[in-house]
Amino acid sequence: MASCWIENSTLLTAIVGTWAPFVTFVLIMLFTRHRPKTSAGLSLASATVSLASALVLLGGHWNLQRPLEYTGRWLVSGDIYIPFGYLLDPVSLLMLTVVAIIGFLVQFYSLGYMAGDPGFSRYFALMSLFLWSMMCLTISPTLFQLYIFWELVGLSSYFLIGFWYEKFSAGQAGKKAFVMTRLGDVAMFLGVLLILLHLGNLNILEIDSPKIVGLMPPEMLTLAALLIFGGIIGKSAQFPLLTWLPDAMQGPSPVSALLHSSTMVAAGVYLFERLFPFFLFSSTATTVGLAIGTISMLLASTMAMVSRDIKQIWAYSTISQLGFMLMGLDAGGLFAGAFHLTTHAAFKALLFLCAGVFIHQYGTNDIYDLAAKGTRRMRVPMLCTIIGAGALAGLPPLSGFFSKEVILAKLAGLPNPIWLVAALLGVFLTAYYAFRPIFIMLFPPSLPAANASNAAPEGTRHRLLYRIMVGPLVILAGATVALGFLQTPLRNFLAGQYTGLTTAGGAHLGWLPYVTSLLATGGVALTWWEFGRPGARQTGFVDGIPVIARFFAERWYLDRLYRAILDHAVDRGISAVLAQNDTRVIDGSIDGISRGTVLAGRLAALINAGMIQYRLLMIFAATVLLSLYFFF
């Protein structure tokens, strides 16, 4: 049977592509831990296999008519089955390709970045572990499989954030990331169980089909959607669980580029795409989602405006852009969200990898320090950063402009104009904070003499590492420019998804692109005035009001609030009270009872101790009592 064979070859490609990194992980952990070169080779080889298979799958199913699904049974026990397999449709194919491409580029880059690190093998093992779990997450046909790999990417994130374990803050950040996302995950888990109880299975295609409305009462559906959205909030670092992501920057820069900007944190948005029709069934859920996305976008933007740490700035911008994608999706724009996810993956990975080159060279994250040490002399990374920031700011004709445009059009179609206004404000703020580090690094007040700190790293080995790192930058920069022009093919490709789903089409306002470009340019111009123009004092307008600047820099005191809740309410509050309850109340009363028993025993022993005085006393007392009893 020809069709069977074709299906099998697809299946084979998918299996090989997704599981190759896992094999690498096991091999490195078991055998090649002490041979860094072999480990890196294995890891890169498997990343190449994954990339090739993703491209083959994407190419082979470019004209996919209906989703391809394969499930096998993973037996838990007699009557409980959990289906495992693959679901290939435009949404998952696109995401799979994004993950594979960036995964490959970042691993290649890491050859240079991580060279000489004592944990070189461990690093590549963990990256492979991540790649495997992320790809399996992407192609999950059931929510259950998705949840399992959802947790596993969280696990890889925990390992990789705390990769430099001797840095205590790295361990701290890893724990924080894991716990905060877990908070969301548990909500999601509950939502998943709710769906299971009503629908009877967790097949994503069935959850997305209209029959769910018949099986779940509306309030249950809303509850489930909100609970699952809780998982998205955790994973995509949205308000109020957003503070783990900036801390996650403690990990190596390529990790930030792959996990904490372009793919893993985008898994939350991807889940929304996956369950897009399901979320749209509940208007409450989409409204809440819209609000959360908007709040996160604006909040993170303000935080990015005052940060001095280059990676943190890009981390805040990630939160902000993920919020922006969620806004687009909640407004009913599947393509809007997916397209921005794709362009964002390219330009944000680019920004982080560039930041990695600077940090690798100069050993600091502070933008003012970097500027003073002469980052502007590193031409290629600097140019790439400018391209990435331009795309982030939404300057035409870079890809970010087009993808933001799609989202804005969707938002403009909403009855309430407040979302569009908020989004436009976001565009302005984004342009401002994206170019702040650029101008600071381009125009430092003073530069060291050109030969004191040579831009091009010295030594052949150093130069080789530098070239390895620069290679992926150029490719990503190219993608950042090119992706914007692929809008139409991508739109056609994704049109096959969820056919029959009618959503409110975005308004086609002719003035919107101009306003957006104007706002973005305005934001850049303001930054230039404050940071770039000759003689600029290099302080932002926010810095002029110390209270607000501090407020933003302290992340709106969210971290402090959580810390205070944990310290005072939980650690010193409930937990301490409960621990006291154990020792004082429960043990106290038990010990009291036993002491009482011992005392009673002593007393009884005393009575029978055979001392003649007591005997006589007892007899006397007994006689008195008896006579009292008898005579009265």
């Binding site: 696990l155 724990k175 169980l193 109880l197 939980v570 154990d582």
Partner: protein, 529 residues
């Protein structure tokens, strides 16, 4: 010989350790290593002998298997009746498995009175296996008490500084519970005698004996106290941290791994089938106490500065899940509960072993005395993390499967309790990772920690087998769950015959949930085609 149907395999498993004790008695008490080896080999052989139980166990029937039934004191209807079903099978295997590894885990740490120590451990094994196999009340009670004594000595003689307090506390708590149970057993016996004129202590007979409801209430209460102390359920748990902290590593491993399961096993073997009506009446109480236990244990773990105490309190939380699943009284819940008993035995047993490894190196269990250990003990760090993840229920490891089944069961029974119980999932990650971070991450600040040895061969030998099972159950739990399937179904059917109402959930929602699950099964079957 062992393949013949009449081979008394259960008795052999139960009494093999006694044979080991006999041999140890003949050895000069100064020859420590020889004693250790004899003890370990005895336990290892016992485990090997117990393996055929698994392979020859017929998962297709709920009837007791490998039955030995010999009249013992026939004028009172007491018999020597042993047997296992799908509920006790895995617990017996867990006992023999952990006993062997536990002996290995306290090899050189105990160097005084090695002879007595090893004798106690082996004696304990006999008691534990006996409890899980006994099908006669008197026999059960004998094993139940037999097991107390060696544990008392293990804590009281080879324990830490506050060992006497801990041992006495452990003994009094357990004893007061079991005395109540003894009274209840006697009442049960005489009730049955008056009703039918037959004297019997046979447990299976009582499974079919319909007690009047008011009687069920009081007798269940007595059993409940005995088992709730053992589990331990909130608020009867305070003996546990003390006993754990003071006990030597092997004691903690056995205590957490097996002894606590006797409480949960007791509910399954006695509470539910003999007192079905009372069990249903008690559901709200037990579910509330379980949920309190889950959150309470986790909360208190959060503020412990002693690693071992932290792990001990986490047991309170985990056993809360076991009770929650069991009293959801549906297939998923009960199976999850049994699996979680095994999981807890493996994960928490391994955690105690890990604490023991740290203690043997540094002779302190205070979290603040460590820091940066990952640098000097990388392999240990990896295995530690794996076990910690297993304990907090990360997918791919055993804890997840157990918690998943329990939560599905709890959800089907009652939404509210299920929701509350998930708080424990978050807290579990918090206290374990918090502890791990403090012990493992950062720079080494204490001079003493700079030259710690990574895992030794003996340590690999007892930790790796546990980890194999942790991963195995996590990835492919079918071989374990299948064995208990029919027995659990039967248990629920027996209960269902006398059960009238089910929880505080409206009838229709229960029906709908069941209906949905049927759809799911149908769907799953379709997928497989």
């Amino acid at each position: 010989m062992m393949n013949s149907p009449n081979f008394p395999i259960l008795s052999v498993i139960t009494y093999l350790p006694l044979l080991g004790i006999l041999v140890i008695c003949l050895i000069n008490s100064k020859r420590h290593d020889l004693i250790r080896w004899v003890a370990f080999l005895t336990a290892a052989v016992t485990f090997l002998v117990s393996l055929p139980l698994y392979f020859r166990f017929d998962a297709g029937t709920w009837e007791m298997q490998f039955v030995e039934n010999i009249p013992w004191i026939s004028q009172y209807g007491i018999s020597y009746h042993m047997g296992v079903d799908g509920i006790s099978l895995l617990l017996v295997l867990l006992t023999t498995f952990l006993s062997a590894l536990a002996i290995l885990s306290t090899w050189s740490a105990v160097d005084k009175g090695v002879k007595g120590y090893m004798i106690s451990l082996l004696f304990l094994e006999t008691g534990m296996v006996g409890v899980f196999c006994a099908l006669d009340f008197v026999l059960f009670y004998v094993f139940w008490e037999v097991m107390l004594i060696p544990m008392y000595f293990i804590i009281g003689i080879w324990g830490g500084p506050r060992r006497i307090y801990a041992a006495v506390k452990f003994f009094i708590y357990t004893m007061s519970g079991s005395v109540l149970m003894l009274v209840a057993i006697l009442v049960l016996f005489f009730t049955h005698y008056h009703a039918t004129g037959i004297m019997t202590f046979d447990i299976l007979t009582y499974h079919r004996f319909g007690l009047p409801a008011n009687m069920q209430f009081w007798l269940f209460l007595a059993f409940f106290l005995a088992f709730a102390i053992k589990v331990p359920m909130f608020p009867f748990h305070t003996w546990l941290p003390d006993a754990h902290v003071e006990a030597p590593t092997a004691g903690s491993v056995i205590l957490a791994g097996v002894l606590l399961k006797m409480g949960t096993y007791g509910f399954l073997r006695f509470g539910l089938p003999i007192f079905p009506q009372a069990s249903v009446d008690f559901i709200p109480v037990i579910l509330i106490l379980s949920v309190i236990g889950i959150i309470y244990g986790a909360m208190v773990s959060l503020v412990q500065d002693d690693i071992k105490k932290l792990v001990a309190y986490s047991s309170v939380s985990h056993l809360g899940y076991c009770m929650l699943g069991m009293f959801a009284l549906n297939l998923e819940g009960v199976k999850g509960s049994i699996l979680q008993m095994i999981n807890h035995g493996l994960s928490t047993g391994a955690l105690f072993m890990i604490v023991g490894m740290l203690y043997e190196r540094r002779h302190t269990r205070l979290i603040s005395e460590y820091g940066g250990v990952m640098k000097v003990m990388p392999v240990f760090a990896t295995l530690f993390l794996l076990v910690a993840f297993s304990s907090m229920g990360v997918p791919g490891l055993n804890g997840f499967i157990g918690e998943l089944l329990i939560l599905i069961g709890a959800f089907k029974a009652s939404l509210g309790y299920g929701l509350l119980a998930t708080i424990g999932l978050v807290l579990g990650a918090v206290y374990l990772l918090w502890m791990y971070k403090r012990v493992m991450y950062g720079r080494i600040t204490k001079e003493e920690n700079k030259n710690l040895r990574d895992m030794t061969g003996r340590e690999y030998a007892y930790l790796v087998p546990i980890i194999v099972f942790i991963v195995w159950i996590g990835v492919y739990p079918k071989p374990f769950l299948d064995k208990m399937d029919v027995s659990v179904q039967h248990l629920l059917e027996v209960m269902g015959q006398q059960r009238t109402v089910m929880l505080d959930v409206p009838e229709h929602s229960e029906l709908r949930a069941t209906h949905a699950m049927n759809n799911y099964e149908q769907y799953a079957a379709d997928q497989g085609r």
